[in-house]
């Protein structure tokens, strides 16, 4: 048995292609990219060594600080918003709609599979203020608040991105959390109800503590994903106005391909990777069980 299941040639043949492609296209470039942080230049003009200059610039450059701040702020705010909205939806599915929740679940999940670029262009039109009034501003004017030029300032644009990402992902987190809520034993809920807990009190004292593990993993998945936000911001605001909505990912992209500074671009990528690494290590430590379940 050992002979067949431990056949070295077969292992090499089955694992070989995957390992080869993975090593060449992911592992080698990661190491290579680390090497770039000590150089400056690009693929066309060539490279020259600059020592630790890129790291010094990383610390000094105010744009890096702004991008880092935007990235962290965005990840934290969006995580809170999308997990809370997802949790409320999951509660709606489990306790209010019960068996009938299937169709709602399916519909609310749909935006998850939509191409980000398409959604971003759609939201641009939804929140448009000139030359044509978009539905959101039209609605605001109808209520008497008056329209807002959403993309004219960083703070309003920030909330449009948050709104869009929430619209896109709430169905996803709802289904993820739904799976956790369904696992709560009916007997536990029944006995709590017999003891007189109902509505918000039932949620607060019984459901919330019992769904804490799945809630925690959702939060960590969400932070890990939102730190890497790229396409939604690029397509919706392209980092503007100015660089007020530029996350690290986009700043790295602009540095590398608009200004051709591969060295500094790699340093920003390294900063981003370090940030993600910390979060991911946290995932493995805190929710190993959920991960292997997959």
């Amino acid at each position: 048995m050992r002979h067949v299941l431990g056949d070295r040639r077969a292992i090499a043949l089955l694992l070989g292609p995957a390992l080869l492609v993975y090593t060449l296209v992911m592992l080698v470039p990661v190491v290579w990219s680390l090497g770039y942080t000590f150089y400056e230049g690009n693929a066309i003009t060539g490279f020259e060594p600059v020592g630790l200059d890129n790291f010094a610039r990383l610390v000094e450059d105010p744009s890096v600080r702004e991008a880092l701040w935007f990235t962290v702020r965005f990840a934290v705010v969006l995580t809170v918003v999308q997990v809370v909205v997802g949790y409320l939806l999951a509660l709606l599915y489990v306790f209010v709609l019960r068996r009938a929740s299937g169709i709602v679940r399916t519909l609310v999940f749909f935006p998850v599979v939509l191409p980000t670029v398409a959604v971003a262009l759609m939201f641009q039109q939804l929140f448009e203020s000139a030359p044509r009034t978009g539905p959101v501003n039209a609605l605001l004017e109808a209520v008497g608040i008056g329209g807002v030029d959403w993309f004219a300032s960083g703070s309003t644009a920030f909330w449009v991105i948050i709104a869009m990402e929430t619209w896109r992902s709430m169905g996803f987190y709802a289904v993820l959390l739904y799976a956790g809520l369904v696992d709560i034993p009916e007997e536990t809920l029944e006995s709590a109800r017999l003891d007189g807990a109902a509505g918000p009190r039932l949620v607060r004292h019984i459901v919330l503590p019992l769904s804490l593990p799945v809630l925690l993993s959702s939060v960590i998945f969400s932070i890990n994903g939102t730190l890497k936000v790229f396409d939604s911001v690029l397509a919706l605001t392209n980092g503007g106005p100015g660089n007020q909505t530029t996350p690290l990912t986009l700043y790295m992209y602009q540095t590398s391909f608009t200004y051709g500074e591969y060295g500094f671009g790699s340093s920003i990528a390294l900063l981003l990777t370090a940030l993600c690494l910390m979060v991911t290590l946290f995932i493995f430590r805190s929710s190993r069980r959920d991960l292997t379940k997959a």
Partner: protein, 302 residues
């Protein structure tokens, strides 16, 4: 429920229970009105933008600028915008590029990933858990970290200017999650099946093709579906490696759509967004349960 039955059974209906009975339906009615309202608002938020998108794709430019925001299209069979989007907007070429880049890389990722998952989980050898961890590490590496060396590599090898950089990169980026998910699925298969097959004299390749593959057939389909959405919707890789207009995938093409027509040409833009959305809608319509299951299982990717 049983209580009301018991009290009603002896024929003497106690008057005290009457108000209780009447209040219950009233509360149930209120409850369902509330539920209905909440569900309606949720569905409105999710579905209305999409309906608005479709309506917009049927409107002409003057309708956009002169009619109120919430007006319906004047001509319901006005498909000019779609024609403009596909012909002048080059959407046909972009869609073809997407298909040419996505499906080969999808096939390769699945083929390599399933084989690797089998070798890592079913076969017995030293260092397999380390190798699995090595693949897992790839899940958290942001695309930005490998972009620049890859750009240099493809440039040096002379692959720039074709769809190969996309196919190769997508294959590699899809591998960590595919290997991870396939290993998980193979772990769920009882080991006894493979051991029995060994005793019956099956070779390892026979075991892979006639036992392993059929056993995880459903899982392979789910993983392929998940990877399809990740690759099809990708912007970062496609944007970096498509340096000419005729190489653009549908996402990059759509991103540059507004540039081409200027912000103001609403109709074709709406039609182009619609066409892009419909492709995923069609898949989701038939396979939504599987998509939901697969994507939430792949949530590690974030």
């Amino acid at each position: 429920m049983s209580q009301t039955l018991i009290s009603a059974a002896p024929g003497v209906i106690p008057t005290a229970t009457r108000p209780v009975r009447r209040r219950r339906p009233a509360r149930a009615v209120w409850r369902s009105i509330w539920t209905g309202a909440i569900v309606a608002v949720v569905l409105m938020i999710v579905v209305y933008p999409l309906i608005w998108l479709v309506l917009g794709s049927l409107k002409s430019q003057p309708e956009f600028l002169n009619n109120p925001t919430f007006s319906l299209p004047e001509n319901w069979t006005n498909f000019d915008n779609y024609i403009t989007a596909v012909t002048d907007g080059n959407l046909g070429t972009y869609a073809r590029n997407s298909v040419l880049a996505v499906f080969p890389s999808l096939a390769l990722t699945i083929l390599f990933g399933v084989a690797a998952g089998f070798a890592l989980e079913v076969m017995v050898w030293k260092g397999r858990s380390t190798t699995l961890l090595l693949f897992l590490a790839g899940i958290m590496v942001p695309g930005q970290m490998i972009l620049l060396p890859l750009f240099t590599m493809y440039f040096e090898v002379g692959l720039t200017g074709s769809l190969w950089p996309l196919i190769i990169t997508y294959t590699a980026i899809g591998l960590p999650l595919t290997v991870f998910m396939m290993a998980t699925f193979f772990r769920g298969v009882p080991r006894e099946i493979f051991e029995a097959a060994t005793l019956d004299g099956a070779s390892i390749y026979r075991m892979f093709f006639s036992l392993g593959l059929p056993l995880v057939r459903n899982a392979i389909f789910t993983v392929a579906l998940v990877q399809f959405f990740f690759i099809w919707n990708d912007l970062l890789i496609a944007l970096t490696f498509t340096n000419r207009d005729e190489l653009r995938t549908i996402q990059v093409g759509l991103l540059n759509f507004r540039g081409q027509f200027g912000q103001v040409d609403y109709g074709p833009t709406f039609a182009a967004i619609c066409l892009n959305v419909f492709a995923t809608l069609a898949i989701y319509l038939f396979l939504n349960q599987r998509v939901m299951k697969g994507l939430t299982a792949g949530s590690v990717k974030g």
